[in-house]
Symmetry: C2
Subunit: 340 residues, 2 copies
């Protein structure tokens, strides 16, 4: 009887937290200490849950956001026939640190703008581990999956917490960035910092929105695909239109870019990527695009080889748009991989 | 006898102009009227010649420069075993307008910096036509060839002056830019104009040199090739080094970028590309790189199809580096094409 009351008590506490309706929720982590030793004060993590957590909590999928992305945007990947099938799995979407929903330069009252400390992908993963283990009472998940920076977090998850998941599905992600990718992000940082609107981070107008729209055309998909879908008359016009759409806050973007550039899953292994791979226990399905110019596929492919993991590679002209572009192929492969 | 003296007189005047030693020379075109109606005052065109002009002047190859390039840099493509074999042909390299050698924002005394009028690829071609016909006494050439913006000038040449050449070899060039290419150049213009050093063109420090180095990494070759040739530690360091090398003057670069963006060989045909193609008399060998991200190959390929011209396409990871990268294949193909 005592035990039943205890279980009921747990349910009473847990059910509101584990709501299955996809509403935006927040967990407070208090003062959250980063790998650097710095602290995010009054740290909040945004998340949404979908589907039913089963009795033995064995059907959890954790799915963190891509760079500048939010769980609101990520919802389109949840549901029957989607990457994260919430009719089978209890899906937890998490807003990565500095995405403008979780604690970020743009929303921190105690550490606004560039007073917000620099973060790493490891910090994102650690904050999510704390969210799941301490706030949601989940000590193990069926799978971690993610797209782009979500795929980077997935690679870090399997190295930082090897026993935490059965499977992992990094999609157009990377265990540490290739030289080209480092230059890409450095270019974006310089565009933000060189913009006269930047004002050392004390901007009143969001800087470099035109440049971000330009880079997205140049890098976001292959030139082949862009040229097929655009004509000469519309190219520059649509650039101006894109630049006027609401854009992610530059300070938030900067902190997430720094996080991606800092990523190296081997950093806790003295830079030895083979040792990092040896620590992994999860079974992996690695999805890459051959002509992805945002997250070039080399490092993911190399790490998959070290693990003997399955690689699903798309040599199409979709580039970094591979997840959307090849959804019809990827979704059933992911479903099959999760069922195995 | 009178005729012999005339001929000797011509030789006397012509020989110093037609020197075969590759020295930098200049021709004065006086006030040169642009397609826009504006005028380049006191217009000078730089050029170099190599090899022997034969008696009937039937062995001339005209070879204009690429964007921001000079005839000094172009010399490496001249000589036996090179694109322009000066042991067989009389090779004329021409400095395109606004390249910093011919009349340019950086060297014009009467129209310095942004007082230098906007130019087009047609203006480059018209100035070269005037150089050859009026200054060098050449009314017809064996071939026009060029790389990148030189290839763009080549496409314009065959449409503007269809009877002037037997053959044309545009290499990684374009008859009018694809949508992607327009965005690329717009991005470079914005980087220059947004740089705080720009000061409306009255800069004392050359603006946006770091950004140009960055764009060159992102676009100048394929990510695949860059990642093969660079490691993570060197990527950002070599960017800083590149940014500190002497860079083309931003005002010159701007005027040449505008020229490339303005290019459309159909513009004298009411925008009808088929009519433009119908005007062409030259035989063409069109060289493109499938994964060229600086001058994407679509428009050159399409125009070649309209002409029934031969296309030499390289689906390698060289991108815009195809001319250097595939030199061993291209040079004999060009030699054979010129011999036909």
């Amino acid at each position: 009887m005592k035990r039943q009351i205890f279980v009921l008590g747990i349910l009473f506490i847990a059910l509101p937290l584990l709501g299955q309706d996809g509403r935006q929720k927040f967990a407070s982590l208090g003062d959250f200490t980063l790998v650097s030793g710095e602290v995010i004060r009054d740290c909040r993590i945004g998340y949404r849950t979908f589907g039913q957590l089963n009795a033995d909590k064995s059907n959890v999928i954790l799915f963190p956001t891509w760079a500048t992305g939010t769980t609101e945007q990520l919802q389109g990947n949840v549901g029957p026939g989607k990457l994260a099938d919430s009719s089978k799995y209890f899906v937890i979407l998490v807003d990565a640190l500095a995405n403008g929903v979780s604690s970020s330069p743009s929303n921190s009252r105690l550490q606004p703008r560039m007073q917000f400390p620099k973060i790493t992908i490891r910090d994102m993963v650690n904050s999510q581990h704390q969210l799941l283990t301490r706030e949601l009472g989940i000590q193990h998940v069926k799978a971690v999956m993610g797209i782009s920076m979500g795929g980077m977090q997935t690679f870090q998850w399997i190295v930082s917490y090897p026993s935490f998941m059965d499977k992992a599905i990094p999609i157009v992600g990377s265990p540490r960035l290739a030289p080209y990718d480092l230059v890409l992000w450095k270019t974006e940082i310089d565009a933000i910092r060189k913009d006269p609107e930047w004002k050392d981070g004390n901007y009143t107008v969001n800087p470099a929105t035109l440049q971000m729209a330009e880079f997205w055309v140049l890098i976001g998909e292959t030139p082949q695909r862009y040229n097929q879908q655009t004509n000469r008359n519309d190219a520059l016009k649509s650039l101006e239109t894109d630049a006027q759409k609401p854009a992610p806050d530059a300070g938030d973007h900067l902190r997430q870019i720094e996080a991606m550039m800092s990523l190296d899953v081997s950093d806790a292994f003295g830079g030895d990527i083979e040792k990092a791979a040896a620590a992994v226990k999860a079974k992996l399905l690695v999805v890459v695009g051959t002509y992805d110019h945002v997250v070039t596929p080399g490092p993911a492919r190399d790490f998959a080889r070290l693990l003997g993991a399955e690689v699903l590679e798309f040599p199409s002209d979709c580039g970094h748009q591979t997840p959307a572009c090849e959804e019809k192929t990827i979704v059933p492969r992911v479903a099959g991989f999760l069922r195995q």
